[in-house]
């Protein structure tokens, strides 16, 4: 008897619960839509629309009153500076990402090698270039490369080597913008690689040791396969960001000498905002899209793959 009433009460409560849950589920989609509405509006109005508007702008004439089709693009193709910018952007991004990845990889190993309790301190110091706003740290580099007071040249001259025209010569200027980019970006790679090194199970290294694997074999068959995902995705992220970089080139060289260090972003700024030719600037910046799309596709594929594994 007592048993029965308890059972009865239980089922009533369960029914109640199901009811309230159902109500919640019914209203859920409305609430969810309202919660995401600001995000959707932000993306539509301030990202998607401007991106499409850029395509429209790129097809207008300089005063933006006449539709000129693709003639902005064909005009760009005839300009030597444009091809120089394409070349420089690719060289800049690929070289910088390559060195960032190499330096990040080795520094991550060095940090990983030392005793745990000291790692925090070293990691803390090594990440500082990434924390300082790039425009500010590039100013410090600009001062280090100063034509008459370069502190690097002072050291070189101390050893009897002639000073280097860091930002005056086109080859050295290109080297400098890449160097500064590597300096800012390598710590990010280091942190990512360190996180992924820490996630490699210790047992794998022990097993490799027991099997008599040497340093190179351990690296080749244990560390690299375990880190492959992070290495790839960090490099892709960085390629996108580096390819679209603005701050460093703008502050360090402003594209000089003779436009030789311009990348897409700085040249688009020079033409579109400073030169007042918005359509031409928009056309230049649109040339970043193919590379960005390729990067995005690879990253997305990785995310979908990992989503399926989970």
């Amino acid at each position: 008897m007592v048993d029965a009433t308890i059972k009865n009460e239980g089922s009533v409560m369960r029914a109640d619960r199901r009811n309230s849950l159902q109500k919640a589920w019914q209203r859920k989609s409305t609430i969810a839509f309202l919660m995401t509405l600001p995000l959707i509006l932000l993306i539509l109005v301030l990202v998607i629309y401007p991106a499409l508007y850029a395509v429209h702008l790129a097809m207008l004439n300089k005063s933006m009153q006449r539709f000129v089709g693709l003639s902005n693009f064909s005009f760009l193709f005839t300009r030597e500076t444009f091809w120089m910018v394409v070349w420089q952007s690719c060289i800049f991004a690929l070289t910088a990402v390559f060195f960032k990845a190499i330096i990040g990889f080795f520094v991550a190993h060095f940090v990983h090698n030392i005793p745990d309790k000291g790692q925090r301190k070293w990691r803390g110091m090594l990440l500082i270039p990434w924390v300082i706003p790039p425009a500010m740290s590039t100013l410090a580099w600009l001062w280090l490369f100063d034509p008459s007071y370069s502190a690097f040249n002072w050291i070189l001259e101390h050893f009897g080597i002639a000073g280097i025209p860091w930002l005056g010569d086109e080859h050295w200027a290109r080297f400098c913008v890449i160097l500064v980019n590597v300096w800012i970006g390598a710590p990010f790679f280091m942190i990512m690689y360190l996180a992924s090194l820490k996630s490699v199970p210790e047992q794998l290294y022990e097993a490799a040791k027991i099997d008599g694997a040497n340093w190179w074999q351990t690296m080749r068959f244990v560390t690299l396969p375990m880190m492959r995902n992070i290495i790839m995705i960090t490099a892709l992220f960085s390629t996108i960001v580096t390819f679209a970089n603005f701050d460093i080139v703008r502050v360090l060289t402003r594209g000089d000498p003779l436009d030789q260090t311009h990348v897409f972003a700085t040249w688009a700024f020079r033409l579109g905002i400073e030169g007042g030719d918005i359509p031409l600037g928009a056309s230049v910046s649109l040339f970043m899209v193919p590379i960005l799309t390729i990067g995005a596709i690879f990253i997305l594929r990785d995310i979908v793959k990992r989503g399926n594994e989970a």
Binding site: S20, L39, L57, I128, A135, A151, W183, S196, F269
Partner: protein, 303 residues
């Protein structure tokens, strides 16, 4: 039999450990050696900022060792912190960054909650879309946005260009997608039983978010806040393109456009300004390093 086995194991193990530890010691020495080299490489520019900021203009232009301060002085700091324009830049930067953080979190946290817990039509596609938006760089958008602001002014008469608060509209495009993305990751790691229990107890979705998700995912929220603040503080392209008057500039652009006048570079003040401009992110980093790094790695490893 057993005795020999037990006695032989320690000796071989000891020998193994001996050679291993000798290898380790060399690896350790080389690691420290290279770490010192890289720390020198990574810290030279900020240290050089500090060295230069403590010098007088006479000492900077004298032909002495540039790596040493012979007559340290705080004049550059006094002069900058006493100048109205510099304080205006600092105030603009602080107001913009803090407001952007608040706007970002108000948009990102509820969206991330809805996208990670309240599956609805198109929620998967939207989450992916948010991530792709994060990959669109500001260098692609600044020209059309610039024109959009001009067109907006034509229609409504509201001037947006050269007003510091235009940055409050622009910066969320940089911060919201990433913050939403990492918050989705943090929310997804909270066990489902927790919110189911709350819903069964009669909590509304809003209550579930504010009473359970936000407290539990607080480390993620701190990481996202730090990210939003540092991105807003460091942003250079948007303020350079959209603001020009001295009263409307934020710190990085202000230092570069007002302290560099033509060919006259007052390097002592420029370095002082750059150091003061780098200080807020550095201070946050010094105190909240673990959250900072968690936010950094979350973008690619979570989700």
């Amino acid at each position: 039999m057993t005795a020999t086995a037990t006695s032989s194991v320690p000796s071989s193990a000891k020998k193994g450990y001996g050679s291993m530890s000798r290898d380790r010691q060399w690896a350790l020495r080389w690691s420290y050696f290279f770490l010192v080299l890289f720390v020198i490489f990574f810290l030279t520019p900020p240290l050089y900022m500090l060295i230069t900021s403590l010098k007088t203009s006479q000492e900077i232009s004298a032909i002495t060792n540039p790596w040493w301060v012979f007559n340290p002085t705080l004049d550059n700091y006094k002069e900058l912190l006493g100048s109205g324009t510099f304080l205006t830049f600092f105030r603009n930067s602080a107001v913009v960054s803090i407001s952007v953080v608040i706007i970002t979190m108000l948009i990102a946290v509820p969206s991330a909650f809805a996208l990670s817990r309240m599956r609805f039509w198109g929620s998967g596609a939207l989450a992916t879309g948010v991530f792709l938006t994060y990959l669109i760089p500001e260098t692609l958008l600044f020209i059309p946005l610039f024109k959009m602001m001009a067109v907006f002014n034509e229609y409504t008469g509201i001037e947006l260009i050269n007003r510091w608060w235009v940055l409050l509209i622009l910066y969320p495009t940089l911060t919201v997608p990433f913050c939403t993305w990492i918050m989705i990751g943090y929310f997804a790691s909270i066990p489902k039983e927790l919110d189911e229990a709350a819903l069964i107890d009669g909590a509304t979705w809003m209550q579930t978010l504010t009473k359970i998700f936000i407290p539990v995912a607080l480390p993620g929220i701190i990481a996202a806040t730090i990210f939003a603040f540092t991105v807003s503080w460091a942003q250079f392209l948007y303020p350079l393109a959209f603001t020009t008057s001295e009263s409307q500039l934020v710190l990085p652009v202000g230092i570069i456009t007002t302290l560099i006048k033509g060919d006259v570079f007052n390097w002592g003040q420029i370095m002082t300004g750059a150091l003061l401009g780098a200080a807020p992110p550095l201070i946050i980093y010094a105190f909240l390093m673990d959250y900072y790094i968690a936010g950094l790695t979350a973008g690619a490893t979570k989700g």
